[in-house]
């Protein structure tokens, strides 16, 4: 069986770090303490090389399912990992186990919460709100096949197999004015 696996594709060359995805998520889930998606700077140094938007990666082998003592996590047939907060006892195991820091404890309810891929919108045939409202089209909804789910890197990343794809940012191109040539020279 090669199950359906929905995922996100992030085009790092397009993302301008406007945080529209963060705000859209926060607005879509007003009951949540904070947005399920956050934008980070990548590259470091004097000048950031780009921005990376991160949320739950709806992994092929989710750690949250393994560690939750109350079986709060399910993986649906479309690959979306959902959390049933009504069963959650707020033990925080999933928060510590997830390598992508997707679940967090809501201080008001004392329960864990995380991105649900805007399941209600998916049922209506719409895209997740973060994808829909990205002004530059850096975030896309994709269906991954088995080969695309294999990830190199840390052991944890390798066996959780996050359902995410990146399009790497292009190297910046510098244009230099020729020596001794004035801008207005004809």
């Amino acid at each position: 069986m090669n199950p359906h696996q929905l995922g996100f594709e992030v085009d790092l060359s397009k993302c301008v770090g406007c945080r529209a995805c963060e705000m859209a998520c926060a607005r879509q889930h007003p009951e949540a303490e904070k947005s399920f998606r956050h934008v980070e700077r990548v590259g470091g140094g004097e000048r950031p090389q780009g921005f990376l938007t991160l949320g739950c990666n709806h992994c092929a082998s989710p750690e949250c399912i393994r560690v939750c003592p109350e079986n709060c996590y399910d993986k649906l047939r479309n690959g979306v990992v959902i959390q049933h907060s009504e069963r959650c006892v707020g033990c925080g195991r999933c928060v510590g186990a997830c390598p992508y820091e997707a679940p967090h404890i809501n201080a008001k309810t004392g329960k864990a919460e995380k991105c649900d891929f805007c399941l209600d919108r998916l049922k209506e045939g719409k895209k997740p709100v973060c994808v829909e409202l990205c002004p530059v089209g850096a975030l896309k909804l994709i269906t991954l096949n088995a080969e695309q789910i294999d990830f190199p890197g840390d052991p944890l990343v390798r066996y959780t197999r996050p359902s995410m794809r990146f399009i790497e940012a292009r190297e910046p191109v510098c244009f230099w004015r020729k020596e001794g040539k004035k801008i207005h020279d004809k």
Binding site: R66, A146, L156
Partner: protein
């Protein structure tokens, strides 16, 4: 002339049990619905034991539709488009039935035919979704274990008993276009060997891995040692029978009593197969419960592990590099063989005294005593971390 039996009553009830009870009350007869296999599907409370034992004892006659073998009982066949759905059994001789009663029974037979056919259709539809069911089972898409057990019965799965979850994964990427072929081969071979040892083994290809669910034998033991022995011997037999099969490793999750925990066991088995490769890169069998410190190390960033290794084993690595001594390999082999000098020396193809001498040298270079528990644990962990680093591509 209107009948004194109210056929409309049948329309007001939905289930087989309710409809049979209505007819039983109105006709003052005891009834039973028998399945095509000969099992009793439903019977009214006062159906006599003698009638039941007759039906049980003469099951063959029932299946061959020999009505004369059942004196004192009337058998009405239940059909839909020539497909047998079972029998309606009345505890009365057919000669004693009036025309009015027969007509009323005909009405009941029509209702039963439809309901049984409908049930069978639903069952058939559900059965055709075995893979989807297994996916839901392994990813916990059910409310309760009871629901899983009930649906599992459609495929003769006895999910009431604890199951071992085993994940088999090829150690290297398969040649392009041959993934399905090798995975089919693997499933076929394992199914054949498992069928001879386990009751109703469940196999399923999930992406590029083979997942197997095996009923626990129920023997009380402190670990999964016996189970691992069986799997190991099967692995060897499969390797022997099919030497062209690419190298594969096996991960085994913990044994849980409830079906709701299969999802947890699957993730554990996957983790075991993945982390087991740090110990043995090919053809490994790893139990999640035996992963030990590797489990914790896998949650630490590789860069941090690298720092720890440099801090702990840095002088030894430098010495190795300068003098080409291979002390690090000696230390790794020593820990890998549970600090057994004879086994470690055999592994390294050296004499025990040479190994003793090398360990003494290692202690001198590192400035520690391996006899102290704290130091030993530190170097053991560092040796484990080194394996993760070596096999992790940055």
């Amino acid at each position: 002339m209107t009948s004194k039996y109210d056929a409309n009553q049948l329309w007001r009830h939905n289930t087989i049990e309710e409809k049979v009870n209505i007819v039983s009350q109105q006709l003052e007869l005891e009834l039973a619905v028998i399945e095509p296999s000969g099992d009793v599907r439903y019977k009214t409370d006062a159906l006599s034991q003698s009638a039941l034992s007759l039906l049980r004892n003469r099951r063959q006659a029932l299946l061959q539709k020999k009505e004369k073998s059942f004196p004192g009982l009337t058998l009405r066949g239940l059909y839909m488009k020539s497909q047998s759905l079972g029998w309606l059994v009345l505890e009365v001789d057919s000669a004693d039935l009036t025309l009015e009663k027969t007509n009323f029974l005909d009405e009941l037979v029509h209702h039963l035919n439809f309901l049984l056919w409908h049930e069978q259709e639903i069952r058939r539809e559900q059965r055709s979704h075995r893979e989807q069911f297994l996916y839901d089972l392994l990813y916990h898409n059910f409310e309760t274990s009871k629901e899983m057990i009930k649906l599992g019965k459609l495929w003769n799965m006895n999910l009431e008993r604890p199951h071992h979850v085993v994940v088999i994964d090829f150690d290297h990427p398969l040649p392009s276009g041959q993934e399905t072929y090798f995975l089919d081969e693997l499933e076929h071979d394992w199914s054949r060997f498992l069928a001879s040892r386990f009751a109703q083994p469940i196999t399923m290809q999930l992406r590029d891995q083979l997942v197997i669910l095996l009923t626990d034998s129920g023997q009380k033991s402190s670990g999964q040692g016996n189970f691992v022995k069986i799997i190991r011997s099967m692995m060897e037999q499969i390797r022997e029978k099919n030497p062209h099969l690419p190298a594969f490793s096996i991960g085994i999750g913990r044994l849980y009593p409830l079906a709701a925990d299969f999802c947890r066991s699957l993730q554990e088995a996957r983790q075991a197969v993945s982390l087991g490769r740090f110990r043995q890169p090919e053809n490994a069998i790893t139990c999640y419960e035996e992963l030990g410190v590797l489990k914790l190390l896998s949650h630490i960033r590789t860069e941090e592990l690298d720092d720890f290794v440099q801090e702990t084993l840095g002088p030894l690595m430098e010495h190795d590099e300068e003098n080409n001594t291979g002390y690090l390999d000696t230390l790794e082999a020593y820990f890998q063989e549970n600090e057994s000098l004879p086994q470690a020396s055999e592994r390294l193809f050296i004499h025990v005294n040479t190994l003793r001498n090398r360990l003494k040298k290692i202690q001198e270079i590192l400035g520690v005593e391996l006899g102290r528990a704290g130091d030993r644990v530190r170097f053991y962990v560092a040796c484990q971390a080194i394996r993760i680093i070596k096999r992790t591509k940055y």
